[in-house]
């Protein structure tokens, strides 16, 4: 009987052979994304780990795309009428908030809209959060969009079972600056709300009673919590992070982190002392607590890094140029760029650096060149594109090692066609 070690050895040898063989046979060719591919600027990324699915919204339209990184299955739905700003999968439903002033629940499997949370005075909705008990959804909206002289930003509490509005609280009373932004976090039965015009308010989660209000000169943008350090971090439009001490509910200090506004902050999935920040200056920075020490800086070479998400020790960042860049963050002192996923309205392409293989659901998005610059055409091109299009490229790009459909998903299951004889 083969031992586990022997089986692993066989798998590794097979994968390595297939890779080398493919690289050797296609060594004269280069696969490129076609010029003019209609990439969508990425607005928000969410990873639904249970189904290995990456969900993405974009700035171009209101569609939400779902890419299963294990099977390559690509789906999308269009339930909103404007850009979707936040996505979260909860209890088999995809919750999305949008510039159309609503939060909607869509069935994860059927992609049919199940519930719509909105009301007449609700402005654009950039953010929502679901209460720890899973019963309520809190939406954050720019209500002055609808009623200019009314409350600038509001938080609404919705019952997720009935879809009924339970409560409205004012996140800020007036609009002092031209910018609009805001975020919500729950902590110990309290609702922390930050927003533009320097408003930072703390409410009782159940009654909605205002417990504390802090007014600063900062236009707060996003928030994240480092509960074990008893800190809540609020970023602003000028590249600062403000540290709110959760013991005292006061801002302790602030640190200048980026040149421009900080768009997204995420804690490392396995090390809660590490925080990643992304900014419109095209830079991602990695910080370590305590002391908020800068560990590394990633120059993404693209503006507006709206969103970040983690998948299997990989950092994915979506930018306005329509790329989702993938970085290997196993070694924080040596963060490596691994490749990219590019989304269009109906297709996607995943390409890893150092690999000739790619994966797409639409082969016409790619073209093949015989070096240095001659485009290969006709049946030869079709053949080579078929060879290069391999699900293994996507799975390797994102480090997928799951069990697929009851079958062990050793890398050899996704072999280049050139080695098709193994199937006989």
């Amino acid at each position: 009987m083969l031992t586990r070690q022997d089986k692993d050895r066989q798998t590794t040898i097979m994968a390595s052979y297939l890779r080398e063989s493919f690289d050797h046979l296609t060594r004269d060719y280069v696969y490129k994304l076609k010029a003019g591919y209609p990439a969508l600027g990425i607005r928000y990324l969410h990873y639904y780990e249970r189904d290995h699915t990456l969900l993405a919204s974009n700035i171009t339209n209101a569609r939400v795309h779902l890419l299963n990184i294990s099977t390559g299955n690509f789906r999308s739905f269009l339930n909103h009428s404007a850009t979707v700003r936040k996505i979260r999968v909860f209890n088999g439903e995809i919750y999305t908030s949008s510039w159309d002033g609503s939060v909607r629940a869509t069935n994860y499997h059927t992609l049919q809209e199940k519930m719509r949370l909105t009301e007449r005075s609700m402005g654009r909705c950039p953010f929502f959060n679901i209460s720890p008990d899973g019963r309520y959804l809190y939406s954050f909206t720019y209500d002055s969009d609808v009623i200019p002289l009314g409350v600038a930003n509001s938080v609404r509490k919705w019952d997720l079972r009935t879809g009924k509005l339970q409560m409205i609280v004012a996140a800020s009373t007036e609009q002092k600056s031209y910018r609009k932004s805001g975020s919500i976090i729950f902590y110990e039965n309290r609702l922390y709300v930050s927003c533009n015009s320097g408003f930072f308010r703390i409410f009782d989660l159940n009654s909605g009673r205002l417990i504390k209000e802090m007014s600063t000169s900062a236009d707060f943008r996003s928030m994240t919590a480092m509960f074990h350090h008893q800190y809540l971090l609020a970023s602003d439009w000028d590249g600062y992070i403000h540290f709110l001490n959760l013991k005292t509910n006061r801002f302790d200090h602030m640190v200048k982190c980026h040149n421009t506004d900080i768009l997204c902050m995420r804690l490392h999935p396995r090390n809660p002392d590490i925080i990643f920040t992304s900014s419109s200056d095209g830079v991602i920075k990695v910080w370590k607590m305590p002391g908020f020490i800068l560990l590394n800086t990633i120059l993404v070479d693209s503006s507006d890094l709206w969103s970040m998400v983690f998948i299997n020790d990989h950092l994915l960042t979506g930018n306005i140029d329509g790329e989702i860049r993938v970085y290997d963050i196993n070694d924080l002192s040596n963060i490596r760029y691994k490749g990219r996923i590019v989304l269009s309205d109906r297709s996607f392409v995943a390409q890893a650096t150092g690999s000739r293989m790619f994966y797409t659901n639409d082969i016409s998005a790619m073209e093949v060149y015989k070096e240095p610059d001659a485009v290969v055409s006709g049946k030869e091109s079709e053949y080579l594109l078929d060879q290069g299009n391999n699900l293994m490229a996507l799975r390797e790009l994102l480090g997928v090692e799951d069990t697929l459909n009851g079958l062990p998903s050793g890398k050899h299951h996704f072999m280049p066609l050139l080695a098709a004889s193994f199937k006989q």
Binding site: M1, K379, E380, Y383, T403, K423
Partner: protein
């Protein structure tokens, strides 16, 4: 028996059942125009049971449907079976019986009318509810078999079946129909694999042989790097042990791997238990009816087809499954094979060797929920997609259809063989060098 059909597949045509009709020597396509009235009259004259009569009407509707809507002759149906593959068109694979099931409402009314007319003429069948019986025939694929074999079935219980149980039969019918359709798709994948292997036989066999050598050498190289292996004899010993272990593990019976997504489906389920029992019985029935291949000295030559069916059935049966969708698929594939075996025996005038024919048949509706149906459908589709992907079916079809692509593919396969040959030499040299270095260190 006429020699127009040298072989028969998974469908026994109506014209074979009604022997006298084919004595006029007309082409099968023209003998299709049986009216329901003619059939019921013929059934009455020959004292067929209600189940046999309804099976005749179903066959008539099925053949008529294929002829009028799909333009398929009965001859083709008998030759190729009910799995229709359009290699020249869009490579679609259709299970013709399932396609007929989808259009069943179009024919059901006609069958009911014919039945009413028959009951008016023949009071034996008065009070028969044909709906459960029709589901019974379709679910158990009885319309594929010679009607002569359907005589022994007792359908009394079906006539007194309450509406809720009829609905259960309906759900089972849809489930079976779905599984049957997927079984056809699996068959398509297998056929493509066979044709691909046939077309590129020479290149592929060379490639396979060289790949095997290379991979074994790579394993040996891996062992050579092992610090615990110091001499060439140790290397040979370790490598030999590995070869034996891998050879043994190739033949070991694999335990079923349960897909985590199917956990919900894995609740205790009477229907699944019933399926398992039926699968065993189906395999037993196929084995019994292929016994000649073991008993006779020249069995494999004389009963070539039975031998093929038996090997296929063994392969299907030996895969262990525990989830509903896989069991359904296994059941459907065995049902199709059993139909082939039975029809083959009938046409060759061999007696049936059934232990318990009625035991194979589902007449007891076991509770199934609509949810089971949806889950089963989704899982079957997902598995089918994966199978197509693993088997590279869509690509292989291209190389089978397009000669230019075929030539390019062959050229690349040859290049790959060249590459492997070079790698084999490189790896051998590398192993030798490592062992020489180790020997030098020891000295």
């Amino acid at each position: 028996m006429k020699s127009a059909f040298p072989a028969i597949g998974d469908y026994y045509p109506l014209c074979y059942d009604i022997g006298p009709y084919q004595d006029n020597g007309s082409d099968f396509a023209t003998t299709l125009n049986f009216s329901a009235e003619e059939l019921t009259r013929w059934a009455g004259r020959n004292h067929l049971t209600e189940l046999q009569t309804l099976a005749l009407l179903t066959k008539n509707a099925f053949e008529g449907h294929l002829c009028h809507l799909n333009g398929l002759s009965v001859k083709k149906l008998v030759e190729n079976g009910t799995i229709h593959i359009d290699f020249d068109g869009d490579n679609a694979c259709t299970e013709l019986a399932c396609e007929f099931f989808n259009h069943l409402p179009l024919y059901q009314e006609g069958i009911e009318l014919a039945w009413k007319q028959m009951v008016a003429d023949d009071p034996r069948f008065a009070g028969t509810d044909i709906q459960p019986m029709l589901f019974f025939i379709l679910t158990n694929q009885l319309f594929r078999l010679p009607v002569a074999y359907l005589e022994a079935f007792d359908t009394q219980r079906l006539n007194t079946m309450p509406a809720s149980q009829v609905n259960q039969l309906r759900i089972q019918f849809i489930l079976h129909s779905t599984a049957m359709s997927h079984a056809a798709q699996r068959s398509f994948i297998e056929q493509v694999n066979d044709q691909y292997a046939e077309k590129f036989r020479e290149t592929i066999s060379r490639l396979y042989a060289k790949e095997t050598v290379l991979l074994q050498l790579c394993t040996k190289l891996d062992f050579a790097h092992d610090p615990s292996v110091k001499t060439e004899s140790e290397l040979e010993k370790k490598y030999f042990e590995f070869l034996i272990a891998s050879s043994v593990s190739k033949h070991e019976r694999k335990e079923p791997v349960l897909n985590p997504e199917l956990k919900e489906q894995e609740e205790a389920h009477d229907f699944k238990e019933l399926l398992k029992v039926q699968i065993r019985k189906l395999y037993k029935a196929i084995s019994k009816n292929c016994s000649e291949i073991h008993c006779q000295l020249e069995g494999n030559k004389r009963f070539r087809q039975l031998n093929e069916y038996f090997i296929a059935a063994s392969a299907v049966y030996n895969a262990l499954y525990s989830d509903l969708s896989s069991l359904m698929l296994q059941h459907s594939r065995l049902m199709l094979l059993l139909a082939k075996v039975i029809n083959n025996r009938k046409i060759n005038h061999l007696p049936l060797q059934f232990v318990d024919f009625t035991g194979l048949i589902q007449s007891q509706p076991v509770e199934l929920r609509e949810d089971d149906l949806i889950t089963c459908r989704n899982v079957l589709q997902k598995n089918l997609d994966m199978q197509r992907l693993f088997n590279l079916t869509d690509y292989k079809v291209k190389y089978l259809k397009d000669e230019e692509m075929s030539a390019i593919h062959n050229e690349f396969l040859l290049r790959q063989i060249d590459y492997i040959e070079k790698r084999i030499i490189e790896v051998m040299v590398e192993i030798k060098l490592i062992m020489q270095n180790k020997a030098g260190e020891i000295a």
